[in-house]
């Protein structure tokens, strides 16, 4: 089953064209990262994935149904979208209430809500803030509250717009584990991100968007090791890829992006030399 089918999508804000000729398919249970320069149209694209925006031309199908024939309220049961700026979605007096809101709306029993909210707050390292006001928290913490409030109702498809902004190394690691866990349980995960090293660690399929259209769509390593593509999309090469491609004349593969992969490639070479010397 396809979670998302986008056919010949065009979209404009007033007379400014933001998306054109977008064709893409994301299957159920895939893990996809959408990357590209500021203003490329990434956020506009994902707002079509839960019906917040409707195509000016072309069609977007979610679980086989055109977003034109559906409402955001209906789509949001299956598709959870977390905005880039948490302040665009937070409004409750306490973190607990904020996170419980969507489940209350869906009419879950209080006991279920309490258990589920507690679980999600602890998973995202927010357990200590249940009774705090979301607006007293740091930017990174508010971002995680916004995440929790969408993830709590366990949507089938999850869309995260820039989830790593303001998160430190440990929180990012936690977030990555959680995303991978949800994905391995069969949920579709789509992230919009600038965080190249996060993508290297997550290893998703990458869709590069540039100036409103799709520039490339492939595995993370084919895209991020392609210097020309990386530059075109205003990204920079992952550090390990940059290092490895500077060593190609010593026969190291520029396709190595992973830290531990690089380590074993280097150690193998170092070992050969020691061997020769002996």
């Amino acid at each position: 089953m396809n979670m998302i089918e986008v056919k010949d999508l065009h979209f404009a804000y007033e007379d400014k064209e933001v998306l054109r000729d977008i064709d893409l398919t994301i299957s159920d249970g895939e893990f996809v990262a959408i990357m590209g320069e500021n203003g490329a149209g990434k956020t506009t694209l994902v707002k079509h994935f839960n019906g917040l925006l409707k195509p000016a031309r072309g069609e977007v199908l979610i679980d086989g149904i055109s977003t034109r024939k559906s409402t955001v309220a209906h789509l949001s049961r299956n598709v959870g979208l977390v905005f880039q700026n948490p302040d665009h979605q937070l409004f409750s007096e306490t973190v607990f209430e904020e996170v419980a809101f969507s489940m209350r709306n869906l009419g879950y029993p209080e006991e279920t809500i309490r258990k589920r909210v507690k679980f999600i707050l602890e998973t995202l390292d927010l357990g200590a803030y249940a009774e705090a006001s979301p607006f007293m928290l740091s930017g990174g913490e508010r971002k995680r509250v916004a995440l929790a409030s969408v993830l709590v109702s366990d949507p089938k498809h999850i869309i995260l717009d820039e989830p790593t902004i303001g998160q430190d190394y440990q929180q990012k690691d936690r977030l990555r584990n959680f995303i991978i866990q949800m994905n391995s349980q069969g949920r579709t995960v789509v992230i919009v991100t600038h965080d190249i090293e996060f993508v290297v660690d997550c290893k998703p399929r990458v869709i590069l968007v540039s100036k409103g259209s799709i520039l490339a769509d492939n595995s993370y390593d084919s895209i991020l090791s392609d210097r020309e593509l990386v530059e075109k999309a205003s990204l920079v090469s992952p550090q390990i890829a940059a290092l490895m491609s500077s060593l190609t004349n010593l026969n190291f593969s520029p396709k190595i992006l992973d830290l531990y992969h690089a380590k074993s490639a280097l150690e193998q070479r170092f070992g050969e030399i020691v061997h020769k010397a002996v």
Partner: protein, 281 residues
């Protein structure tokens, strides 16, 4: 000359039982580029608030120890006095830009200082040139890309001719290319003018090559400081800090018995070191 000096500085926000920063000792020389990092809640932002006297004049709480900025004790400084000497750039430039054109935004600070029109004009031209946005003079901030907005925010701060510039995660919202260009532009300022930079960042790969010093904080204390290559080499003390992957690579190699020397901070340095290791053996 020391532009920032803290001795046993401790601050506890009103209503909190735990100090946000505790016994911080710090001395920053004029012209340094300091990268301040540490996990969320480690006290970086609290320390930054001391640099423009938001603590203690705006945020209430209990303070002990001493802190001086530009040679004056913070207890006798106010935020408005420091505003012209210590410039702040934040994560989201949208919050800092409010005029109808970039030029008006950049001119706002100098005009508020009551500078003569000619001097204001000179500073605005200079600040826009140095940040590379001269051609955007007439543009409205909302028409700009994120990177251009952040450049405009930096220009607006520079037009005040600050002696210290504090940037709190200024590139979070930018694409990687714009982010590295912004950090490069900030680093280049040091060659043009006599300015001290304090950059607060989680993403260390971006700024390490420009930093003269890295200060790592954890739970309100300074836990590690020194030049980047030294700090990144101290793996054991770096729990929870995402050091650049090339630095991590060299630390892993060293652990396995391949010591390639000083922990590198740039890809070029790492590449060089691997080449000479392979050639020597």
């Amino acid at each position: 000359m020391k532009v920032i000096e803290a001795r046993d500085l401790t601050f506890t926000y009103a209503g909190s039982s735990k100090p946000a920063i505790e016994n911080v000792n710090l001395a920053v020389d004029r012209g340094e580029f300091v990268l301040l990092t540490g996990p969320s809640g480690c006290g970086k932002t609290t320390l930054a608030r001391c640099l423009n006297a938001l603590i203690p004049s705006f945020y209430q709480g209990e303070i002990s120890g001493t802190m001086s900025v530009l040679g004056r004790d913070m207890s006798r400084l106010t935020t408005s006095e420091l505003a012209r000497k210590v410039g702040f750039v934040f994560q989201n430039p949208e919050n800092q830009l409010f005029s109808l054109s970039v030029e008006r935004d950049v001119a706002f600070g100098p005009e508020n200082l009551g500078l003569p029109r000619e001097e204001t004009r000179r500073r605005v031209d200079w600040a826009m040139k140095i940040t590379g946005i001269s051609e955007l003079r007439e543009a409205a901030p909302y028409e700009l890309s994120g990177g251009q907005q952040q450049r405009a925010a930096i220009a607006a701060v520079l037009a005040m001719k600050p002696e210290i510039m504090v940037l709190d995660e200024p590139t979070s919202f930018l694409d990687p290319l714009s982010a590295s260009q912004i950090v490069e532009a900030v680093a280049a300022l040091r060659r043009e003018i006599d300015i001290t930079i304090v950059l607060i960042e989680h993403r260390l790969d971006l700024a390490s090559k420009y930093a003269s010093r890295i200060i790592v904080m954890d739970q309100g204390r300074v836990t590690l400081e020194g030049p980047p290559s030294k700090v990144y080499g101290e793996e054991a003390k770096l729990l929870g800090i995402g050091i650049p992957k090339i630095s991590m690579l060299f630390n892993l190699l060293r652990k396995d018995g391949f010591d390639l020397g000083r922990t590198p901070v740039t890809v070029e340095e790492a590449s060089q070191r691997i080449r000479s290791y392979l050639e020597h053996d």
